[in-house]
C-alpha cells in the first residue's frame, strides 16, 4: 500500500462528516419551519409544503442532487450576474450541504410534524392560556416537549445523512466514497480500500448510535418509562 492513501481516506471521511452535520442542521431548520407551516400555516403554505415533502420523498436522492446542484449554482450565478457581479465557483462543500439539507428538510418536516402532534394537547393549551407569544411557546414548550417523540426519527435521518453523503461522489465531490475509489483505482487494491471505507462508515454509525442512546435518555428525563409495545 502506497503511503498517504490512508490520509486521503481520512480527509474524505472528514468531508463526509462535515457535510452530514451541515446538511442535518439545515434540514432541522427547514424541518422545524416546515412542520410549523404545515400545522399552523395558511392554506397556501400548507399545500406548497405538502408538494415539497411529497416530491422530495418520491424522487431518488441522486436525481434531486443533480437537479438541485445544477439549478442552485445556476440560480446563484444568474442572480449575481443580474446584480452586476462576476460569476463565482460554488464550493462543493456548500453545494453538498445545501442539496442534502433540502432533501433532509422534507423528511424532518414530517418527523417533527408527527412529534408536535403527539405532544399532549393540554400543554400547548396551558401555554396559550398563560399568554405566551408563539416564539416563546415554540422555544419553551413545543420544541422541548416534542423532542422525545422526534429523536428516534431524527436519529434515523442523521444516519441516512451520513450515508447519503456517498451520493455526492457521483457529482464529483471529494468525500469518503470518491476518495476510496480514487485510492483503489490507483493502487488496484480495490477490496482493501472499499472494506476500509466500509469500516469507517460503520464506525461512524455505531458511534452515532451510542451518542443517540444517551441523547434519547436525556430527552426522556422526567417522563414515565413506557414499556416497549410488544
Amino acid at each position: 500500500m502506497a503511503p498517504g492513501w490512508g490520509g486521503t481516506l481520512l480527509v474524505g471521511f472528514l468531508h463526509s462528516i462535515e457535510i452530514a452535520i451541515g446538511a442535518t442542521c439545515l434540514g432541522l431548520l427547514i424541518g422545524t419551519g416546515g412542520a410549523c407551516g404545515k400545522l399552523y400555516g395558511g392554506p397556501v403554505a400548507r399545500d406548497l409544503l405538502a408538494i415539497y415533502t411529497t416530491v422530495v420523498r418520491a424522487v431518488p436522492e441522486l436525481v434531486l442532487i443533480l437537479l438541485l446542484y445544477y439549478a442552485g449554482t445556476d440560480l446563484i450565478n444568474q442572480v449575481l450576474a443580474a446584480m452586476g457581479y462576476q460569476r463565482i465557483d460554488i464550493s462543493g462543500l456548500a453545494a453538498g450541504i445545501f442539496v442534502l439539507g433540502v432533501v433532509q428538510g422534507a423528511y424532518s418536516t414530517e418527523v417533527i410534524r408527527g412529534a408536535i402532534l403527539s405532544i399532549p394537547q393540554g400543554q400547548i393549551e396551558a401555554a396559550r392560556a398563560y399568554g405566551m407569544p408563539p416564539g416563546l411557546m415554540l422555544r419553551r414548550i413545543t420544541l422541548p416537549a416534542m423532542l422525545p417523540f422526534a429523536i428516534p426519527g431524527l436519529a434515523n435521518l442523521w444516519l441516512i445523512a451520513t450515508k447519503d453523503t456517498a451520493l455526492l461522489a457521483v457529482v464529483g465531490f471529494f468525500e469518503l466514497t470518491l476518495a476510496t475509489r480514487q485510492a483503489a483505482g490507483v493502487t488496484k487494491a480495490y477490496l482493501l480500500f472499499f472494506v476500509a471505507a466500509g469500516v469507517l462508515y460503520l464506525a461512524l454509525t455505531l458511534f452515532s448510535n451510542l451518542i443517540i442512546g444517551r441523547v434519547e435518555a436525556w430527552s426522556r428525563r422526567g417522563m414515565p418509562s413506557v414499556k416497549e409495545a410488544r
Binding site: 392554506p43 397556501v44 399545500d47 406548497l48 416530491v55 420523498r57 418520491a58 424522487v59 431518488p60 436522492e61 441522486l62 436525481v63 434531486l64 443533480l66 437537479l67 445544477y70 439549478a71 445556476d74 444516519l159 450515508k163 447519503d164 453523503t165 456517498a166 451520493l167 461522489a169 457521483v170 466514497t177 476510496t180 475509489r181 483503489a184 488496484k188 480495490y190 477490496l191 472499499f194 472494506v195 471505507a197 466500509g198 462508515y201 460503520l202 454509525t205 455505531l206 410488544r230
Partner: protein, 269 residues
C-alpha cells in the same frame, strides 16, 4: 345507499380540489408545465424514447427481482433474530448492522470493483459457466440491491415476528401443529401483515436506490438521462423528465400497495 355515499364521496373530493387557493395553485402549475413544454427543448425525445422505455423496463425489472429475492432472504434473517439460536441470530444481526451502517453506493462499488477485480485472477472461475455472467454489470447490481433490501427488511421482519402475540403460537402448539406448520400457517402470515405497511416504504426506498446501478454501467433510465445530457448538452430537461418518471412510478407503487393493504381482512392487534 352505497350509491349515495359514493356521490357524497365524489362531491367531497371535488370540493377538496375546488377551494379557491387550490384552483390558483393548479393554474400556476399548469402554466409552469406549459412554459416547460414550449420554452424548453424537447426535440431529442423522438430519438431517445425507445432507449428510455428500455431503461424504465430495466429499472422496474431490477426493482421487482431485488425486492422479491430480498424479501425471501429477509424472512430467515428476521426469524433468526426474533427467535433463533444464538449461533444463527448473531450472524444475522451482524449482517443487518453492516448493511444498514454503510452506504449502498459503497456496497455496490465493493462488489463490482472489488469482487469484480478479484474473480479474473482465478482461472477456474474464468473457465466456469458463470464467467459470461460475472463479466457483466447487472449481476453485481442485483446482488448488491438484494442484500441491501434484505438487510433493511430483515430488521423489519424481526420486529414483525417478535410482535406476533405469544398466545397465537401457544394455541397453534396446543392444536398439535408441527413447528413448520405453525410457521407457515400462523407465524409468517401474521408477521407479514404486520410488516406490510413498512413494506410499501421499503419498496419505494428501493426504487429510489435503483439509479445507483447506473454508476456501474447498467443502462437503466437514469443512465439514459445521463446519456441524453451528454449528447445534447441539456441540463434540466432530461432531469425534470426523469424526476417525473420516478414520481409516477412511486405513485403507482403506493397505489398498488394500498390496494393490497385494503384486502387484508382483519386488523391484527
Amino acid at each position: 345507499m352505497t350509491g349515495e355515499t359514493a356521490v357524497i364521496n365524489v362531491a367531497a373530493r371535488a370540493s377538496l380540489w375546488l377551494q379557491p387557493h387550490r384552483i390558483v395553485l393548479i393554474l400556476i402549475a399548469l402554466a409552469l408545465v406549459f412554459c416547460a413544454a414550449f420554452f424548453m427543448r424537447w426535440d431529442w425525445l423522438p430519438q431517445y424514447w425507445e432507449m428510455g422505455l428500455l431503461g424504465i423496463w430495466r429499472a422496474l425489472w431490477i426493482l421487482v427481482v431485488t425486492c422479491a429475492l430480498g424479501f425471501l432472504l429477509a424472512v430467515p434473517l428476521g426469524l433468526a433474530q426474533a427467535g433463533g439460536p444464538s449461533w444463527f441470530a448473531v450472524p444475522a444481526k451482524v449482517f443487518c448492522t453492516i448493511i444498514r451502517g454503510t452506504p449502498l453506493l459503497l456496497q455496490l462499488w465493493l462488489l463490482y470493483y472489488g469482487l469484480g477485480s478479484l474473480f479474473p485472477q482465478y482461472p477456474w472461475i474464468r473457465e466456469s459457466w458463470m464467467w459470461p455472467y460475472l463479466r457483466q454489470a447487472w449481476p453485481y447490481a442485483v446482488v448488491a440491491l438484494t442484500l441491501s433490501f434484505a438487510g433493511y427488511e430483515g430488521e423489519v421482519m424481526r420486529g414483525a415476528f417478535a410482535g406476533v402475540p405469544k398466545g397465537q403460537l401457544e394455541a397453534a402448539r396446543a392444536f398439535g401443529m408441527s413447528r413448520f406448520k405453525i410457521f407457515r400457517r400462523i407465524w409468517l402470515p401474521q408477521a407479514f401483515y404486520r410488516a406490510l405497511p413498512t413494506l410499501t416504504g421499503e419498496t419505494v426506498l428501493q426504487l429510489k436506490s435503483t439509479p445507483l446501478v447506473a454508476t456501474i454501467s447498467v443502462i437503466d433510465i437514469f443512465a439514459v438521462s445521463s446519456k441524453v445530457r451528454q449528447d445534447t448538452y441539456l441540463t434540466y430537461e432530461p432531469l425534470l423528465l426523469l424526476a417525473l418518471i420516478y414520481m409516477t412510478i412511486t405513485g403507482i407503487l403506493v397505489l398498488i400497495f394500498s390496494r393490497i393493504e385494503a384486502r387484508i381482512p382483519v386488523k391484527i392487534g
